[in-house]
């Protein structure tokens, strides 16, 4: 009986970040196309297609319709990225570079088009990143370093904040699951991530009635969130309003689904 995959795993594949970054440096500003789903983010989230249906370089979304995927002209110019992609011994669908510029935020969402059970998974290879990038999956923080290759169950709620001063660019590879990839994932280093700063604050509120008193009377959501941000700052926590909004959303969903098997 096949075992369920972990929520996140660092795979044994490792790539040289310097080569990937050299390819990245060749991309002009006109190669980047804004992400189609503008409701999902603030700031600049854009991408460059390396492989898409028909090899069309302007197709930025991960096309899941049944078409023939082909490498784009851009990929031919990027030999390190091409070598990465060619090292995958499974059918590939869309392959993109996704860029989240300094200060930009991707709100919590789920990628419903993917799924281990449905045979489609998305892998991430950070090309360039910084320590102030915060990636959360199911409210756990995962640190992914340049050149590593990660399997992530992106059906789960996830969000990203680039709170650093430099852009974050990931190579995002959509794969069709086969035995090679299944083995790679099952032999990967499964990770539970770390407690987020928001979660640590949340735990402290539940343990301190005095902190609860500060918040209980605020029935207006914006005022409530603002007070949380003030209290968190006073106590040395570091998270964003977006983290609170995401937690409220997930709490609302959990409450509504509490009786669903």
């Amino acid at each position: 009986m096949p075992t369920a995959p972990p929520n996140a795993a660092k795979l044994s594949l490792v790539f040289d970040p310097a080569g990937l970054q050299a390819d990245l440096a060749k991309l002009g500003s006109n190669e980047w196309v804004a992400h189609f789903n503008t409701g999902f983010f603030s700031g600049d989230w854009s991408g460059a297609a390396l492989r898409s249906v028909g090899g069309d370089g302007t197709k930025m979304y991960a096309d899941t319709s049944h078409g023939d995927f082909a490498n784009t002209a851009l990929l031919q110019e990027c030999r390190h990225l091409k070598a990465v992609i060619e090292s995958f011994q499974c059918p590939l669908r869309s392959v993109r570079l996704l860029r989240l510029t300094a200060g930009s935020v991707i709100r919590e969402h789920r990628d419903y088009d993917l799924g281990y059970d449905a045979g489609e998974v998305r892998l991430h290879v950070p090309v360039i990143t910084n320590p102030q990038v915060e990636f959360y999956l199911n409210n756990r923080r995962f640190r992914m370093a340049e050149g590593e290759c990660w399997y992530l169950d992106l059906n789960l709620p996830h969000r990203v904040q680039n709170r650093g001063a430099t852009d974050r660019v990931h190579l995002v590879i959509d794969c069709q699951l086969n035995d090679w990839l299944r083995d790679l994932i099952s032999q990967g280093e499964a990770s539970l991530g770390e407690e987020s700063s928001y979660e640590a604050f949340h735990r402290q509120v539940l343990e301190e009635p005095a902190l609860q008193e500060e918040l209980i009377g605020l029935t207006d959501q914006p005022a409530f969130i603002q007070r949380i941000m003030e209290l968190a700052q006073q106590r040395g926590f570091s998270f964003m309003e977006d983290d609170v909004t995401a937690a409220l959303q997930s709490a609302r969903r959990n409450w509504m689904e509490r009786n669903i098997v």
Binding site: H202, V205, L206, E207, P209, Q212, L215, I216, L218, T219, D220, Q221, F224, I225, V244, A247, L248, A251, R252, W255, R258, N259, I260, V261
Partner: protein, 321 residues
């Protein structure tokens, strides 16, 4: 005592999720708010919508309920209201709730969740322990409440023997009504237990194999039949009191209160009577006697099912009230 249990002063176990691997008790900081909405869950829903309560809730195992009971005992219930649905039980609760020292819980879902732990292999003794512990935790007096009344779900008449063992000193009543009027009301908008397969054969005694070939009306009549039979069976041995809808709302004052050992002042009776002028489930609407309109709405099938199946049971209840 565990740290988790220590932190729960001022928190109430509003919900119990039993579909998870281990049942989870969901605690909410409730403040002084009374359970005054027509149903327990309406009050809970409205409280959970507040940002603090949405975000900050303790989640514990069932055993924390038992720990809390040892250090913070709540109220022992002073009366249980069982009923056949659509028969004035909500009105009776709303009348009892007019007295500030009363706490009234109307069809609280956590009780059903605990009763149904039998499906997860929990023994009767375990369910009794957790029911008593939950009752103790939910009934922490917050505004000087001294007496606790609980209206159960219509199908809990099947759980009467267990609930009687769990709360042997709590008096109980069974409210009923002319089955034709109940059936017509259920046809308009069926309660949960009227939905096929919400209850199991173990509870109702209706053979599962017979259900698919029944019309919806017949299924509802069969459920009512089981409810009435169960009430008739337990009334005598378990010392209950049956009350017909026709005696409401006055019988809350003249029959239920004395049965529950409750003596009301003239002023309290006055406030209760004023409450009866309003429709129990939609407090903004005035209460309208609707027996006559319901009688007119009855289909041939309803009339036949009442004559053959339900009226004899109803008449037995009337003769024993």
């Amino acid at each position: 005592m565990s740290r988790a249990s220590d932190l729960l002063d001022g928190w109430l176990p509003i919900s119990i999720t039993h579909f998870t691997q281990e049942p989870i008790v969901d605690w909410c900081r409730f403040g002084a708010r009374r359970f005054s909405e027509p149903f327990f869950d309406h009050t809970v829903q409205s409280e959970v919508r507040k940002p603090f309560n949405l975000l900050f809730r303790h989640k514990t195992t069932l055993d924390v309920l038992v720990e809390r009971q040892a250090t913070r005992p709540g109220l022992e219930p002073s009366g249980f209201i069982y009923h056949m649905s659509r028969c004035g039980s909500t009105l009776a609760c709303q009348m009892l709730d007019t007295v500030p020292e009363h706490m009234v819980l109307s069809e609280p879902p956590p009780m059903d969740a605990l009763l149904r732990l039998d499906r997860r292999g929990y023994s009767e003794q375990q369910r009794i322990t957790y029911l008593r512990a939950w009752m103790s935790a939910i009934s922490q007096p917050r505004t000087g409440e001294k007496r606790l009344y609980v209206k159960l779900d219509a199908w809990h008449v099947f759980d009467l023997p267990l609930l009687r063992r769990a709360f042997p000193d709590t008096p109980w009543v069974f409210l009923y009504r002319n089955p034709l009027e109940v059936l017509v009301s259920a046809m308009r908008s069926p309660g949960l237990h009227m939905i096929r397969n919400y209850l199991t054969e173990d509870q109702t005694g209706i053979p599962a194999a017979a259900v698919p070939s029944m019309t919806q009306t017949e299924y509802m009549a069969r459920i009512l039949e089981s409810v009435l039979k169960s009430a008739l069976q337990h009334l005598g041995p378990l010392q209950g009191k049956a009350l017909d809808y026709t005696g409401l709302p006055e019988s809350v004052i003249t029959e239920i209160a004395p049965h529950f050992g409750l003596s009301l002042t003239a002023e309290q009776i006055q406030v209760m009577r004023e409450k009866t002028a309003f429709h129990a489930k939609s407090p903004s609407e005035h209460f309208q006697p609707d027996a006559e309109s319901k009688q007119k709405e009855a289909s041939e099938e309803i009339l036949r099912l009442c004559t053959t199946l339900l009226d004899p049971l109803y008449n037995q209840l009337v003769s024993r009230s």
